[in-house]
Assembly symmetry: C2
């Protein structure tokens, strides 16, 4: 028997209409490519988004058309975020840090017909060989080099379109709204095709108290690149609750981020831990003083945030840390670490950090389980297994890529590739990516745990631990560390530091002092590159 409720759909245009009618006067602020500040309102933004939609429709965009973007976090990109899904078309955000060959593959695999490109990304775009693209639109506010580029001007398109020609259409919440390729370190990139439902579900979760808790009074810094899981959905959730939105363009250096936090009175920011490590470093050691009193919480994830970093933000700056775990395949997040895991009146200080270092419990309507070679693991906080997930925001398949079927179980769960333990409370702790786990003498060593401990040493800024093939032990851990400016430390000191909490056989045999740890296009440590560099450290082994 069906219920007798309205069949109203949870879609991005519903969020757009909401922001237009209720939050029209709320500010949207972004940095332009020349670093200047651009400031307008949701009403003005949506008026332009509607004109963009009208223009795109004239260019042939309709239900299901893939319209790509290659750009940073700014207001034109934001307008595209609303315009494209409002047509029933698919917003395909291209990761501009990828190699041109990979971008070419992704553009053509997606079958993108229209591409919006930042002016300063034009040199990159010229290296691509798209086969399905019919129109290229140049974003940016410069004097318009587009004629010489044989491309359309974004601002000309907006100027030529009538807002009154825009019409809301009915969209099924299961329809595709956005597309994002996940560029695994191995294998071909795979597309995740988000439904309106998955994105709006994510928005509702991030507006909940036991999550990022984004609300009307917030000023949200949308630091995650808009090509990375829809910028973690921050534009959409901000529009849903009516929060002021601040977009930093490509300027994610600590000084620029701190400038924006101070000038716009940002209350909540999000981003991978490496961003907040760098910001913290400048706050603590930089010559300039920044006012971060408005900031009251940071949502972070993508890789494990070091406890020392969380402690510094919380204790020195009074900023709450919301630690989430997620994936491109999960429309951003799937679990969140709450400050309270139990019934007590609040954890002690140390218990807080133990709790916060975990990736936390699943968000509502998301289910978890983990599996080792013997089947599903117990929730004992000790046994390690590969995490599997299920939920309305989880990919069921990859776009046009049947080869990835091994990612999904026969009973409809997704294999995440993350090795975790699950506590009796249901809180997960990420031990490693399946491929980053170190197996030494038949025993597992968590690279994440070693990294976290190394970054807890006062002299260490960053640390990455990798598995290196070893003729006797199979694999051994090797540490690459970046020493803080003005500090010195030796391998022996670090080894002694780790020996306080790890068994002797778990300790890295080698400590390499490096200037910088290479990162992926989304800011995580690029361990594949380090593994390649050190693969022959113990001689050539058959395991490679």
């Amino acid at each position: 028997m069906r219920g007798l409720m309205m069949d109203v759909q949870l879609t991005l245009p519903a969020i757009e209409r909401r922001a237009e009618t209720l939050f029209g006067a709320v500010q949207v602020v972004d940095r332009s490519a020349d670093r200047s500040i651009h400031r307008y309102t949701y009403a003005a933004m949506i008026a332009r988004a509607k004109r963009l939609a009208v223009a795109l429709k004239k260019l042939g965009a309709t239900r299901g058309t893939r319209v790509a973007t290659l750009g940073w976090n700014h207001h034109q990109h934001l307008e595209a975020y609303f315009a494209i899904p409002s047509l029933g078309a698919v917003l395909h955000t291209l990761n501009l840090r990828l190699h041109p060959d990979e971008l070419t593959y992704i553009l053509n695999d997606a079958g993108d017909e229209i591409v919006l490109v930042d002016q300063d990304m034009w040199p990159l775009y010229q290296k691509l060989q798209p086969t399905t693209v019919r129109h290229v639109i140049l974003m940016g506010s410069g004097p318009g080099p587009e004629r010489s580029y044989n491309a359309l001007s974004y601002e000309d398109l907006i100027a030529s379109a009538q807002e009154s020609a825009f019409e809301w259409i009915d969209i099924d919440e299961r329809d595709a709204a956005a597309l994002c390729y996940t560029s695994g370190t191995t294998g071909q990139a795979k597309g995740v095709l988000y439904s309106h439902r998955a994105i709006t579900f994510h928005c509702m979760n991030w507006a909940m108290v036991d999550n990022v808790a984004i609300c009307r009074r917030d000023v949200v810094l949308g630091a995650p690149p808009m090509f990375h899981i829809n910028g973690w959905g921050l534009s959409f959730v901000s529009a849903m609750v009516g929060a002021k939105l601040v977009l930093p363009n490509r300027f994610l250096d600590p000084e620029s981020v701190l400038d924006l936090i101070a000038s716009e009175r940002v209350t909540v920011a999000a981003g991978v831990p490496t961003v907040w490590l760098s910001v913290l470093d400048v706050l603590n050691t930089g010559r300039q003083r920044y006012d971060v009193r408005s900031l009251n919480r940071i949502a972070t994830g993508g890789s494990a945030p070091p406890t020392s970093m969380m402690r510094a933000w919380i204790e020195q700056y009074g900023v709450r840390i919301i630690h989430l775990w997620g994936m491109t395949e999960m429309t951003a997040s799937g679990t969140v670490s709450l400050n309270a895991d139990d019934d007590s009146d609040g954890p002690s200080n140390d218990a807080l950090y133990v709790c916060l270092a975990r990736q936390g419990i699943p968000e509502p309507f998301i289910e978890i389980r983990a599996r080792d070679e013997n089947g599903l693991i117990p929730w004992d906080g000790v046994t390690m297994g590969e995490l599997e997930v299920r939920g309305p925001n989880v990919a069921a398949a990859y776009y046009g890529n049947g080869a990835a079927a091994e990612t999904f179980t026969a009973d409809g769960w997704m294999r995440t590739g993350d090795i975790v333990t699950i506590a009796p409370s249901g809180s997960i702790a990420l031990c490693d990516r399946a491929k980053d786990l170190i197996k030494s003498g038949g025993e597992w060593i968590s690279s994440v745990a070693l990294e976290n401990a190394l970054m807890g040493h006062p002299a260490i800024a960053e640390a990455a631990v990798i598995a290196v093939p070893h003729p006797k032990w199979g694999e051994r851990p090797v540490a690459c560390v970046v020493v803080k400016t003005g500090e010195t430390v030796t391998a022996n000191v670090l080894k002694e530091h780790l020996a306080l909490t790890f068994a002797k056989w778990m300790l890295p045999d080698e400590f390499h002092f490096v200037d910088v740890i290479p990162r992926t296009s989304t800011g995580k440590f690029l361990k594949a590159s380090l593994r390649e560099r050190f693969r022959h450290l113990y001689g050539k082994t058959t395991q490679q």
Copy 2:
């Protein structure tokens, strides 16, 4: 083009599994019929709910079966809340304050096959004449008078069922989960058939910051009767976020409510304004002192909360007021009054109360509009019109009652019967129920505004203003007031008090001092009864 996300359904069993796996140790506390405190955990509650489901299945309950409850707020009723929808059956909560004839009509209209009845409701149930009921189950923990009643014992059923026999079934979120009849003051009661989707959507809304903001750290007092819109969904949202739940049984007298708040350290409570008026009165004038320091917010709605009441809670007791507007047809709420309507750094004290007295802006994915005889009204905060709503939690039709089709517009909105203004911000202000609005000399007078002003007078505890037929003016306002214990006041003083803010022609001609204002079965003022009492005050008119 469809997205490629998992088709995971938003259902009540998903919330049940969540509470079982993540919040098993969290407490559920209720008062028994003998006033004693019963205390167990979500794990224990759900284990019993599963056994109840097994027992109900044996009695023939399956997908679509209507299983009714006639009971107060206690743990057995809570178990039924989870057990019945987990079978795909429909939880039909009967309003035990209704007349036996109306209950008989409702039982038979719904086609209930099984009924769970509180032991002390047995005398009421005996007066009913059900035609479809096959099994009656007596809830309660007494010595079991059920044999003489020819009814089954709830506890015997639980004892006889095996938890291991329970199986989760797949349920479509659009399937019916619950049924609640709205007993309008006129006409036949009409059933609202809630889908799993509508209820879970409501839960997500109430867990958001800009709403009741229920979270893991909360202790929730489920004061709204469980037969009234699923107790405003508090049991379900508490289970979803893992909040401790406290159910007061039938003991809603101020002293009992205050006892529970103090002993269980309740942080958030909900209920109609009349409950919180009475509680406030006892707090301020009672002989006993109660500790309400744990309480930090009250969610209220159902009728307009007097500003004086909100001011007292906020300023004397530091309790935030969350003012919501909703209907049985809206799965509880549809709008919420935020403390911040604009971009300023927070409203001034007076502006806060102006803002809080409004019913607020729509919750996410809910849309509003209002209509007068000239069509849709402007959002100017002045023009009055009947509110129409649309959203995933709004009824699209009544159960088995085609005659109510006039409630729904041709383009799929619901007419609420509430007369409102809509401010430019999108915040609504309830002027009156369409039927309570007073039309005097061709001009509208809001009874709610007069009541609110009267209750702002220090000598007045409660006030209701009604329209009385008048030979010259059509209708005139008449006030019925309850004076606070120990206070005295005259009609002239009240008239002068009102004249400070109302035009002279709007002032009530008569002030009737009464001991008590009659209430509906859900605690609102029963104006129909007052109208009946005073209908001939100005002589017999043709308008009646």
